[in-house]
């Protein structure tokens, strides 16, 4: 494995009595797009501030390319930040804002001019050099902030919920642009957001956080398909979570019936959470359904119908369907064995990975 560019070793951050980071370990490789995803107060911005050097860890080590940087001040780190509220200097125009870092370093005037022109062209703001900050729209300020942060040629660009103040359409557009920018520059991006859709769309790797801990990390597909616990499953996308019992390997019982599935490695008759994603469920006739549900309500979402229903055991089901359904009718519900995802209670990420490796190997050998 390559030397990670940033490494956290059991990092704790407390403010007085309250611990906002409870022993975080993480490794970040150069050149990838990372996302720290979690609700507000989960500690994701704290991690960003520790990397940037705005605050210092209470205990634990923060390493940059293998060297401890706990005591290196922010102005000496090869890391730059795009702030949530952009934090552009109001007394300077666009050019002066972008040139701020280079001016401090004493770069020559000619060099600064070329670089600023180039950066502004990159964020599609060519010709805006002499505008004042208060003359720019939110999206334009955002781009200036990105250009200003990139002007110092950072190894890592930190982005603290930079899209949260933009409207929906602009946000979507910026998601593409940021992703593109990261690929073109080839530097590491660490992106903080509470928007799971944003995280899934942009990232190479996601850290899901809650209450000062990293609950799960992995590729967007891994995290979406194999959430480790109820919190992650509910936070990443819509999901149906019902109580079930793992009767034996590859056989689970929930909602009054027994189903074949693809999970293994648990104790016989272990109590588990069963997750089914709404888009994996299909409506059919009651005879063909694995479960029978009664339709309660439906909402038209543009590209699909969101239908809520309940089965005879009182479990709520949420279904995404392309066709509308008749309210108060009884319908069958089908899904494939691989759509059923099992979550054990209080399983740590390491145990989860170990179990997955274990039975996947066994499965491959059987074939």
């Amino acid at each position: 494995m390559k030397q990670p560019i940033i490494e956290f070793k059991n990092v704790v951050k407390s403010y007085g009595e309250t611990q906002v980071l409870k022993g975080v370990d993480l490794e970040i490789e150069a050149g990838k797009f990372y996302t720290l995803l979690g609700p507000s107060g989960s500690g994701k911005t704290t991690i960003l501030r520790l990397v940037a050097g705005f605050s210092s860890a209470t205990s634990g080590d923060i390493l940059f390319e293998g060297k401890r940087i706990n005591d290196v001040p922010a102005n000496k780190r090869r890391v730059n930040t795009v702030f949530q509220n952009y934090a552009l200097f109001p007394n300077m125009n666009v050019f002066e804002n972008v040139a701020f870092g280079m001016n401090l370093k004493g770069t020559s005037k000619a060099k600064i001019k070329t670089k600023v022109t180039q950066l502004l062209a990159m964020v599609r703001l060519a010709g805006y050099e002499n505008r004042n900050i208060d003359e720019l729209s939110g999206g334009q300020q955002q781009r200036v902030a990105i250009a200003r942060a990139l002007a110092n040629d950072p190894e890592i660009l930190l982005l603290d919920e930079p899209l949260s103040a933009l409207d929906y359409k602009l946000r979507k557009e910026m998601q593409y642009e940021l992703r593109e920018l990261q690929k073109n520059l080839g530097i590491t991006f660490i992106f903080v957001t509470h928007d799971q859709e944003e995280a899934l769309a942009m990232s190479d790797w996601i850290f899901v956080m809650n209450e000062g801990k990293i609950l799960q990390n992995g590729t967007p597909v891994d995290i979406y398909d194999e959430p480790i616990n109820r919190f992650v499953a509910e936070f990443i996308g819509e999901s149906n979570i019902v109580n079930g019992v793992m009767l034996e390997d590859y056989l689970v019982s929930f909602a009054g019936s027994t189903f074949e599935n693809v999970d293994a490695g648990m104790r016989p008759n272990e109590q588990v959470d069963v997750v089914l994603r709404p888009e994996d469920l299909d409506l059919t006739t009651p005879e063909n359904g694995k479960l029978v549900v009664t339709i309660d309500a439906q909402l038209f979402r543009g590209d699909y119908y969101e239908i809520s229903a309940h089965d005879d055991n009182g479990n709520e089901w949420r279904i995404q369907a392309t066709n509308s359904a008749q309210i108060n009718t009884r319908q069958g519900l089908t899904f494939d064995p691989e759509d059923i995802h099992i979550m054990r209670f209080n399983e740590s990420e390491d145990d989860f990975d170990a179990r997955l490796d274990n039975y996947e190997e066994v499965g491959e050998m059987d074939e």
Partner: protein, 271 residues
């Protein structure tokens, strides 16, 4: 019709209030042009009191002294007060910050007489001679809290992430201060300077206690002369002072409206 009716009484009220406020001043200005010696029986237009004022070497020296003290004290107080405000802003401990701020505010509200008396005791105890130095020092002292109060709101208004951003881009503490913080709070610093300047100009009570050795400022001098009956020379001086402050206010208003007009124009362009 209806609007005119509802506006009638408020307008009258306003006019009456302004007449009450300005009548004494205009009365004083009017008699400064009196050919006679007293503030009654207008004997005809004359500039003799103005001539007398400009020939009064002691009075001119005192005017000069007053402005020097005001200028120096407000300059020094602005520097100290601005640094103090930045210090208070940077104090993370909430209790500590409130204590410092309260100590600052107590000086603002405590009566001038008490401040003046305590300075007198202080200077005599230290054996500092009364005169220009003691007046300057006491003026600096009572101006600092004013500057702090004018600068601190601007600092609090500033987004803290601006400081983080500057540091993030490679600025050390000095560069953060000079390139980001000071430009941001400039208007507050100027407001503090002008407030301190006017406070120093018209201070009587504190100066009265700590002045001595023939050193005097306008308000103290006018007070001591008024006890023997106000000469119309004072009226002439007051008229000039009134005009100067009027010009200052109008000038400030014009600069202000010019700036905000430019800003509004720019805003329209971008929209």
């Amino acid at each position: 019709m209806n609007i005119n009716k509802t506006r009638f009484w408020p307008t009258i009220y306003l006019i009456v209030v302004f007449i009450l406020l300005y009548a004494p001043i205009f009365y004083l200005i009017f008699y400064s042009f009196n050919a006679g010696k007293y503030m009654h029986d207008f004997a005809g237009f004359s500039l003799r009191h103005y001539r007398q004022l400009f020939n009064d070497a002691r009075m001119m020296e005192i005017v000069f002294n007053t402005f020097i003290v005001a200028l120096l004290s407000s300059l020094i107080a602005t520097i100290i007060g601005t640094l103090g405000a930045i210090g208070i802003y940077g104090t993370k401990n909430r209790v500590m910050r409130n204590v410092i701020l309260s100590l600052n505010n107590v000086l603002m509200v405590s009566p001038d007489v008490i401040i003046g008396a305590s300075f007198l005791i202080f200077f005599t105890m230290l054996g500092i001679g009364l005169g220009f130095g003691s007046v300057l020092m006491s003026h600096i002292a009572f101006s600092i809290p004013i500057v702090v109060l004018m600068v601190l709101p601007k600092l609090n208004e500033m987004n803290y992430s601006l400081l983080d951003a500057a540091q993030d881009l490679g600025a050390n503490s000095w560069q953060v201060l000079t390139r980001v913080v000071l430009p941001y709070i400039t208007s507050g610093i100027f407001a503090g300077f002008f407030m301190a300047f006017t406070y120093s100009l018209d201070d009587f009570a504190v100066t009265f206690f700590v002045t001595g050795n023939g050193f005097s400022t306008l308000s103290v001098e006018i007070y001591s002369r008024a006890r023997q009956g106000v000469s119309l020379e004072i009226n002439a001086l007051s008229t000039l002072m009134f005009l100067i402050s009027l010009i200052l206010v109008v000038g400030y208003f014009m600069i202000d409206s010019y700036n905000s007009g430019r800003k509004a124009k720019k805003g329209k362009l971008s929209a």
